[in-house]
Symmetry: C2
Subunit: 238 residues, 2 copies
């Protein structure tokens, strides 16, 4: 009995270690998203370089979490909810690693356009997308930490908002390019930056689905609310 | 002894089942890449719809492979090479799932630009990138199937070629947009399509690294040969 209690406690400790790792990765990813936007907006190349470098820490955490998770599965042969706790941690770590990559790519673009002045209006759109992406990320990580399926579902529903913003920014950037070809270089980079933010939102949505599944053992839904329609949008009707 | 032999055989069978699943996913991913390009080039919306639908099969295979792999780890508690065989299969399945997503996105763009005529020269660039991405994918899946680390390394080295092509196509598309604003809509979609092909190449490179690690137990290298420099490229010097 004492032996059994000992094992149970230890498994709980290991699960907590996984959760802590996710929290740490999440904090790094949130900060990276903020830094990458700031470096883009303020044309701050030092900050951009810092953001790019800090992505490595997220990658390292992911590898460590994966090793921990696999060792736990092999050693404890967990079933049902216990196993789900481990596999969902791996999935979420994978999403956070991708968020880091996408934010890093924005910071690289910040370096590329550091010498070009940027129209306030366009940066406003990117800023708004960044804020929503950050909030989605923060809220979904809270939902996961609290095992709060309702909160996860609310994050999941809000992704459509980010997609709508991306659609309108996509059109705005294209219009801006058409008005003056000298905007094409900058706007192309901003287009990719906006797409990256939209994809960061998708990863928050993935984490919401994973959290919901962890808590309830059932899938949130077959199809997510998909609002980015730009890949199907014919632009350039003249 | 008979008991032991039975278990060993059965583990081998299970590993073979993982390999078969990877081969099946790889075949589907290769076909999806080809279909998505054909639908873009021939402005074939039916083919584009087919390509988009077939991505679901890849996703389903990935989920099944993951379940198989986790059950194997829990049931057999494999160590060293045996464990590596399972975890690498999961990683490769993850890469193939992303390849499917990226190819599907090209097919969606094919629908968006189905009614726009496309300049032969630009499509030539996309076609060339598609062919290389397909060959990289095919070669790396062969390398994995044969556990051929040398072949995997050769795929890994060739990724720079795809990156170089992407860089030059990126500039070409931007020039084309600057020449005539009416090209901006089409070229933006082609820009994202080219980026997707470059990223498909990155996933082939990931699979090459995973295969190398599976065979040799050591990492191929700290940093991969990174040739896509467009995110750092300031365009629009006038």
């Amino acid at each position: 009995m004492a032996e059994h209690a000992h094992i149970v406690t230890s498994f709980e400790d290991e699960l907590r270690a996984l959760d802590n790792k996710i929290a740490e990765m999440g904090g790094l990813a949130e900060r990276l998203v903020a830094q990458s936007f700031d470096s883009l907006e303020q044309r701050d190349t030092t900050l951009a370089e810092q953001a790019i470098a800090s992505d490595r820490a997220i990658d390292k955490h992911e590898r460590e979490l994966e090793e921990m998770a696999i060792a736990m599965i092999a050693r404890r042969q967990p079933m049902a909810l216990d196993l789900r706790q481990i596999t969902t941690a791996m999935k979420i770590a994978g999403d956070l690693e991708r968020v880091g990559d996408l934010a890093k790519n924005i910071a690289k673009r910040a370096l590329a356009v550091a010498h070009e002045p940027r129209p306030k209006q366009l940066m406003g759109g990117i800023q708004h997308m960044t804020e929503i992406a950050q909030r989605q990320l923060k809220d979904v990580l809270d939902a996961f930490a609290m095992r709060d399926a309702e909160k996860a579902e609310s994050v999941w529903r809000k992704d459509a908002q980010l997609d709508t913003m991306y659609n309108s920014l996509f059109r705005e950037l294209l219009t801006y390019m058409m008005e003056d070809p000298r905007n094409i270089g900058l706007c192309t980079h901003l287009l990719f930056a906006a797409k990256n933010l939209e994809r960061i939102g998708d990863h928050a949505t993935n984490i919401a689905e994973t959290t919901y599944y962890l808590v309830n053992g059932t899938q949130l839904a077959e199809d997510r609310p998909k609002g980015d329609t730009t890949s199907q949008t014919a632009i350039g009707e003249r």
